[in-house]
């Protein structure tokens, strides 16, 4: 396979990643689409199997708290209220990777518990001051002061949605006692509901993702209960709680059916909340948020064409491009080669495209220039650069790490991977500096991997405009060799990267990581290989279906005592 030369380099010290996802040695190929019982017959709902269809370890999602985005989305969806007070007290890591990773969310810093409680107080204040919002919380009125039927109905209906599972009898009993406490002290029905709402929102059952094991200290796998599956689905696709449809299917036990799950994935992606799958998962994965930070740093003395509005247009183009793959099912295999742009008049001018629209954004397909695929989008080319120059090594690093799931390990005692050298406007050129780098064996290991894509992209400046010379007139020479193939332009390079197994299978690793909220461990590698075999660079929607049908998504296990 084409990546074989890379394999040799891995041995020389740069590559620290897990086994390449294309590696299929050993394992039996398992078709995840077969995971759900026998094929469709008309005998009604299939009973979920009692055993997982894999002998591999399905693992577990460790208990962890909601991310800030999840917390905010969940509150908004629970209360049907936008514009609630921001939950600034919830902080998350900003390391590389997905912010929903369970292990990052297991600390309760000093001010967090207090933040939950104070925030819940504020939110409840907003809800009970808004008649519409208040009515959505509970619609009935008690007939007498002793009448607790209304409160019980509230606990059952609101509690189900707040805690994402039915409230248990002893919990109901305790909560009703709190209701009575307020009423007996002279509080109104609403006063008491407000106190109960604060209890629901600050509760560990609200702020944590709770998945229970039948035997928490044993490692035998068991199927998730249907409510936990509904939450896994909704937090994967909506980054938020399940809706009433999902709760209904969890209740009647139909959610595990293969066809039903397929239909749910389609429905959830089509829902307005479906854009959160792109936001929380795809954008983070391909590192779009880097653009937001970079947009504030661009040196307008070097790039006078830059403006905040141009930056907004670039971001909108990235989003529209990603949506073609998330919602419109363009196959992943064309992610680097699809010749599609989404331009405003401003962005068209930046690209040197004739402007044909009147206003707004126009989808342009097949415009003949040097720009192709995701790597040709100005947004990518900008967020992969520095404030006053391009950063070819960083571009290469993003392509390898984010898009090809190839983790790099910086060998000891070399300077930061991010380049310290001067801008490319001075002699010697970046090319010569990089070649010097690669002459040293300890540097070559990484730079042989990193540099070729970066060098080819030198034809695009740090805000993604086409250029043939550096700012001082020094000519750009984009010729290089990628995996033993000579390439001299993005148009030649993109299909070469696109046919590597690392690129084609990368979404499987990323999506499984996101859905299982853990860096692949244990037998996750085997699951990634299995899904890769059947998915084969298809649509992200099909991949999502394969992931949610997989045993690793539908089963879990306890944890052996230390």
């Amino acid at each position: 396979m084409r990546w074989s030369t890379v394999g040799a380099l891995f041995l020389s010290g740069c590559y620290s990643g897990i086994a390449a996802t294309g590696d299929t040695e050993g394992d039996e190929v398992h078709d995840p689409s077969q995971a759900m019982g026998s094929e469709g017959t008309d005998e009604g709902p299939q009973r979920p199997e009692e055993e997982p269809s894999t002998e591999d370890d399905v693992g577990r999602i460790a208990l962890h708290r909601l991310t800030r985005a999840q917390y905010e989305h969940t509150l908004a969806d629970l209360l049907h209220l936008e514009d609630l007070p921001a939950a600034t007290f919830i902080r998350g890591g900003t390391g590389v990777g997905f912010p929903n990773e369970a292990k990052l969310l297991r600390d309760i810093p000093e001010d967090l518990a207090r933040g939950y409680i104070e925030h819940a107080r504020e939110v409840v204040g907003v809800v009970f001051a808004n008649p519409d919002a208040r009515a959505r919380v509970s619609s009935c009125t008690p007939e007498t002061d002793d009448d607790t039927a209304c409160a019980e109905a509230f606990v059952a209906s609101f509690g189900l949605r707040a805690w994402r599972r039915p409230v248990e009898p002893q919990e109901t009993e305790r909560l009703i006692a709190h209701y009575r406490e307020v009423r007996d002290a002279g509080g109104s029905h609403d006063d008491a509901l407000a106190v109960l709402t604060r209890m629901f929102l600050g509760s560990p059952h609200f702020v944590f993702h709770v998945e229970l094991d039948e035997a928490p200290d044993e490692t035998a796998p068991h199927r998730l209960d249907a409510y936990a599956l509904a939450s896994r689905l909704s937090y994967t696709i909506w980054n938020s709680m399940p809706d009433d449809d999902l709760f209904a299917q969890a209740k009647d036990g139909t959610l595990f059916e293969r066809e039903r799950l397929h239909a749910e994935v389609d429905r959830m992606l089509a829902d307005p909340k479906g854009t959160r799958f792109r936001e929380a998962f795809v954008e983070t994965w391909v590192r779009v948020p880097l653009l937001d930070a970079q947009a504030l740093l661009i040196d307008t003395e070097v790039y006078p064409a830059w403006s905040a509005e141009l930056g907004d247009d670039m971001r909108a183009e990235l989003v529209a491009y990603l949506d073609d793959f998330v919602h419109d099912d363009l196959p992943w295999s064309t992610f680097l080669t699809a010749d599609v742009n989404f331009v405003t008049e401003r962005l068209a001018e930046h690209y040197g495209m004739p402007w044909t629209g009147d206003a707004g954004t126009v989808r342009v397909e097949g415009y003949e220039d040097q720009r192709v695929g995701y790597l040709g989008l100005a947004g990518f080319l900008t967020y992969s650069s520095r404030s006053a120059r391009t950063a070819p090594t960083f571009r290469g690093k993003l392509i390898l790490e984010a898009l090809s799931c190839t983790a790099l390990m910086i060998p000891p005692n070399v300077p930061e991977l991010e380049m310290d050298d001067e801008s490319g406007t001075e002699f010697p050129s970046i090319r010569e500096q990089l070649e010097a780098h690669r002459a040293a064996p300890e540097c070559a290991a990484c730079h042989n991997l990193l540099d070729p894509p970066g060098l080819v992209l030198e034809n695009f400046d740090a805000i993604g405009a086409w250029r043939e010379t550096y700012e001082d007139g020094y000519p750009i020479d984009p010729r290089t060799t990628f995996q033993e193939t000579d390439v001299a332009s993005l148009i030649e390079l993109a299909p070469e990267i696109a046919k590597t197994k690392q690129f084609l299978n990368c979404p499987v690793e990323k999506m499984l990581t996101f859905a299982l909220r853990r860096t692949p461990e244990g037998d996750d590698r085997a699951f990634i290989r299995e899904i890769s075999e059947t998915w084969n660079g298809g649509s992200l929607r099909d991949l999502l279906k394969a992931v949610v049908l997989h045993d690793a998504f539908q089963w879990r296990r306890g944890e052996a005592p230390e």
């Binding site: 460790a62 208990l63 962890h64 708290r65 600034t88 902080r91 998350g92 900003t94 390391g95 590389v96 990052l104 297991r106 600390d107 309760i108 810093p109 000093e110 967090l112 518990a113 207090r114 409680i117 104070e118 107080r121 204040g125 002893q170 919990e171 305790r174 909560l175 406490e181 307020v182 002290a185 509080g187 106190v195 604060r198 209890m199 600050g202 509760s203 560990p204 059952h205 702020v207 944590f208 709770v210 229970l212 094991d213 928490p216 200290d217 930070a293 504030l296 740093l297 520095r386 404030s387 910086i410 005692n413 070399v414 300077p415 930061e416 991977l417 310290d420 306890g558 944890e559 005592p561």
Partner: protein, 500 residues
């Protein structure tokens, strides 16, 4: 007068929402004095009030190393008239008699055998107060000196410690979590890890509210007369936590356990639990000495978290931000709300533009005021921008020290009772974890002040952990066995050169 009224009104609004607002509010004097409340200390349960002179600890950190101009003229040891400050250190001139410059301390041996630590910014800042390699501990860390002090000295102050900072513009994190770049303080944790990072707070308002959270005089509040049921709510969370823990694996139960601990801490603060301690005497600060905190965070745009929209724009004034933080630190000390503050003058690897700094001529090329990209990584290591930014760091420290020096306390000044350190986790533009910039200011009779201590240079250099060990042993008189780590397991040794 008008301004302060407005500020108080704003606070009152906030206080009404605060969980702790309705309990233990001091019947405060209104008018000329702002009063701090009775506040049962969390420490009260585990420590009696300490006796003897007050001893505070205030380590200050700056990122991106120091300009080489820091050391100009400081090659040889000397004391009194036998040494002079470099131009970069000149802001400390008025306090020279209470200052020690220490040259050639390294911190690399906490991490590896040589000074070129990679990735430099993240690891060096994480190790700055811990002298432990966070990378070697699954991206966690050891306990930092300030937190060890909090734990061992057990000062009976309302607030254990503060972690403050001015970093408003996050840069590249070197592929590490935030806590490498935005926290230098690490405390022991009851959670899933042995330690937890304490992120620096950059919002002056947040700090102010931490210091004066219950400053509202107790008065009937007609808009909010109902009981708040905080106690019942906390009880409910404890009941839920206990029931949940019983259903979880051991490691998951630890997470809920930490949640439960936090709820119990709130119970103590809200007075739900009787600690049996006398309340802390109140502190009255004349209004004119109160920091003039803007009503809205918008007025200090640097307060956004790194997840929010950080603005590096013209509205934000880093100089003003620093001035407010200094005032807040003085306020905290004056009221004895805490004795331990760690202060990050900026986050590690900060690319913030120090456009408010006037570039002085240090004899180099002009350089650029983007701290990391333009100043530290300028081709000319002696560029004027780097020198000027470094000098600005010294200025803020000198200004704070000057404020403490102006306040009499005991037989001397507040500065005598406050040990300040100013330094960085890396040397200079070379990013080395050796020959760290380090100045000690104040701290009273423990130290042989007014001298330049030049220790043996790399690779025979002493390590930062010995400075911290010396401070813990000799200044705070704590019987610590050692501090930090050494790759070769070398034991700590006192840094006799700085002791009186």
């Amino acid at each position: 007068m008008k301004r302060i009224t407005k500020t108080l009104a704003h606070r009152r609004l906030r206080a009404r929402r605060a969980l702790l607002s309705r309990r233990d509010v001091l019947r405060a004097a209104t008018g000329a004095c702002l009063a701090l409340p009775f506040l049962p200390s969390l420490h009260s349960a585990r420590a009696a009030a300490s006796s003897g002179p007050i001893k505070r600890f205030l380590p200050i950190y700056f990122p991106n190393g120091a300009s080489e101009h820091w050391w100009t003229g400081l090659e040889t040891s000397g004391s009194g008239d036998g040494w002079t400050l470099s131009n970069v250190l000149a802001p400390l001139q008025a306090l020279k008699s209470k200052t020690i410059h220490i040259r050639n301390l390294g911190n690399y041996r906490a991490m590896q055998d040589n000074r070129q630590v990679e990735p430099s910014h993240a690891r060096c800042s994480a190790a700055y107060l811990t002298c432990v390699d966070a990378d070697a501990r699954d991206q966690r860390n050891g306990i930092s000196i300030d937190q060890l002090l909090v734990e061992r000295a057990a000062f009976a102050t309302p607030i254990d410690s503060l972690q403050l900072g001015l970093g408003t513009f996050p840069g590249f994190f070197d592929g590490r979590p935030w806590h490498y770049n935005q926290a230098v303080s690490w405390k022991a944790s009851t959670g899933t890890h042995e330690t937890e990072p304490l992120r620096r707070v950059v919002s002056p308002r947040e700090v102010f509210e931490a210091l004066v959270p219950w400053a509202t005089p107790r008065e009937p509040d007609p808009e909010d007369p109902a009981p708040n049921y905080d106690e019942s709510i906390l009880d409910e969370f404890l009941a839920e936590s206990a029931a949940l823990k019983a259903k979880l694996s051991r490691s998951d139960a630890q997470v809920v356990d930490q949640f439960e601990t936090r709820i119990r801490e709130l119970e103590i603060l809200t007075g739900t639990v009787d600690t049996g301690m006398d309340p802390i005497p109140r502190c009255e600060v004349p209004q004119e000495e109160m920091p003039d905190i803007p009503d809205s965070d918008q007025e200090l745009q640097g307060v956004a978290s790194h997840n929010g929209a950080d603005v590096n724009g013209t509205e934000y004034d880093r100089g003003r931000h620093a001035e407010l933080m200094n005032q807040l630190i003085v306020l905290a000390f004056q009221c004895d709300l805490t004795r331990v503050v760690s202060y990050m003058l900026d986050d590690a690897r900060s690319p913030f533009r120090y456009d408010h700094v006037t570039v002085e001529d240090f004899g180099g090329t002009p350089g650029d005021l983007n701290f990391h990209d333009g100043a530290q990584h300028n081709g000319d290591r002696l560029n004027n921008a780097y020198g000027s930014i470094t000098q600005w760091m010294v200025q803020q420290t000198a200004s704070l020290a000057g404020m403490l020096e102006a306040i009499p306390e005991g037989d001397g000044t507040m500065l005598d009772n406050t040990l300040m350190l100013l330094g960085s986790g890396m040397h200079s533009d070379d990013h080395d974890a050796a020959e760290l910039p380090m100045v000690l200011i104040g701290g009273g009779p423990t130290f042989a002040h007014d001298q330049n201590v030049v220790l043996a240079p790399y690779p025979e250099d002493r390590q930062l952990r010995d400075l911290y060990f010396t401070i813990l042993q000799r200044h705070f008189e704590l019987d610590v066995e050692g501090f930090g780590e050494d790759r070769d397991g070398a034991p700590n040794a006192l840094l006799e050169e700085i002791l009186a």
